[in-house]
Amino acid sequence: LSEAGGLDILGTGGLSWAVHLDSLEGERKEESLTQQADAVAQAAGLVNAGRIGELQGHYLFVQPTGHRQAMEVEAMRQQAEAVLARHEAVRWHSEQTLLKRAKR
């Protein structure tokens, strides 16, 4: 699922965030981290698209599907940023942007 995340969403112009959740209870089990990720994503108005590869505690949150106006998208971005910034379980978050990489 996590592999699906970034591209499918970004390919259609949707917003997505990489989020690193704080493991307050030390080595928390993956299952409970995922549950927490679901909850945080929901609070931010996003959908948890799953863990990012092999990085424990890192999740990709994506914008729910659907066509939106630019203003709506911006409002959604601000809401998500605000929620993720103040959520105590979020150690770090970053909106996913496109990288430019060239074959050599």
Binding site: G6, I52, G53, H58, S94, R104
Partner: protein, 630 residues
Amino acid sequence: SIHFNDPKYPQQWHLNNRRSPGRDINVTGVWERNVTGRGVTVVVVDDGVEHTVQDIAPNYSPEGSYDLNSNDPDPMPHPDEENGNHHGTRCAGEIAAVPNNSFCAVGVAYGSRIAGIRVLDGPLTDSMEAVAFNKHYQINDIYSCSWGPDDDGKTVDGPHQLGKAALQHGVMAGRQGFGSIFVVASGNGGQHNDNCNYDGYANSIYTVTIGAVDEEGRMPFYAEECASMLAVTFSGGDKMLRSIVTTDWDLQKGTGCTEGHTGTSAAAPLAAGMIALMLQVRPCLTWRDVQHIIVFTAIQYEDHHADWLTNEAGFSHSHQHGFGLLNAWRLVNAAKIWTSVPYLASYVSPMLKENKAVPRSPHSLEVLWNVSRTDLEMSGLKTLEHVAVTVSITHPRRGSLELKLFCPSGMMSLIGAPRSMDSDPNGFNAWTFSTVRCWGERARGVYRLVIRDVGDEPLQMGILQQWQLTLYGSMWSPVDIKDRQSLLESAMSGKYLHDGFTLPCPPGLKIPEEDGYTITPNTLKTLVLVGCFSVFWTIYYMLEVCLSQRNKASTHGCRKGCCPWAPRRQNSKDAGTALESMPLCSSKDLDGVDSEHGDCTTASSFLAPELDCPPHQPPDLLQGKSGQIC
């Protein structure tokens, strides 16, 4: 003694240069000793791998492959209008093209398995890179990456937060804990005066940064220089020089073979192939062992433009060629007898706040940091590997800055080369430069960072806001390094390169891949359908049994002779089915005709041998007991 029937093998000068003997990677002797990369998997992270072409198919590893652009397990490249997605297939062919198939060419590690991760054919994000770097990291040993940020002479970029985390996680947890090997191409921005220290992948301590030289051993027009370059290997040069012959895709205009692969893209996979040869003879080499072996065995050669400098530990380095040319024979012989380096030790200085102006050339700003014996006591760090400097500098024209780092020995690294194309007005914001030029030197002493403005425009002066020094190395002493150098030289005769000599390897860690097998929606649908069918079949079958029993009871079939469903049992293909539908006590006893229906008796005693048939009884006693009988 090596001969292949692949038609393009004679043109693969980088493997066996008959026109200019010696100007190749020196691999044939290794092949002669059956070292071909067997048991090692190399993955090409690129625009896909056409794994169905003859030269790839037999060595293809579907287990190590994935398509992150389409989110499926098949990294087959997608043809595009510009005919541009042959890159990964070409790189894969350099590594593992199958020999003696009368087709095209031969790979450096033709006994290895080759996988593909398709990620460059579409929008790319930090999270996708992170997934790619750790994809199937218990299957894939070496990640070959012939790509990077734009080489336009003005870009400063590298892996972002997740990509960095994935590289670090890969070297710690990949390959059962021995560490994934990340090989990266140093870049093609030579014409734009670019420098690979502005490429965070090349700068990373977790990667093996490989540059290119042409057939004559010179730096090609496209190649970049940098202090973090580990080594070089062959690739194409200008038009008069030969390029790399390798497999190609056969989609669109492709023929399955090309003589025109070039750039640092062509060099990195050769290095990946050579590392695969090393891992065959010594599977427990760690990611740092591989870096060390490259440093210890790369060949410094005559090139007056290369500006070689020999450091305190005796290693020669050039910003153009790193520690020199990779040599498969030397790498494999060294790997065979290599015992692991001590654990990685590091030292991080405090954040050094300066807020000092950067003067114009010929003047310069010089800042120092003394690393004392006490500073290193905790980590045990004695000798250096990578040295990194993180700087924050404001400047109205970033490309006018020049940064040099001097290690305690006095060894100079040009960590930040001026770039004429880079007019970015934002300077550097916590950018990390790194150098390998102090490898093996003592860590203790004074480090000097010298910055100057080489611009010729009357612009506002730059300000060095802050900097931080990070040292990486081990507890090896300079004597240990000398001893290891001597040991390796003694192995170069090839005397250990036979099956009879094997050093023990520690067992690897069991690190599960979290995404091992996931049920796809289609699989789930199939399972649900099968489940529903089973339920309905069971209900139908039970109904049939009940109804048929009721019929038997009502027709008194059992009193007339052998149970009428006995023949049906005989026809049953399945004993279990027969058992379910058969009365445990057969009808032979009902009217004493068992001799005429031997099957009943035999089956009954076979299926329920402990139940003997009751003695013959008068029919009237059985009336109304059909339920019990059957």
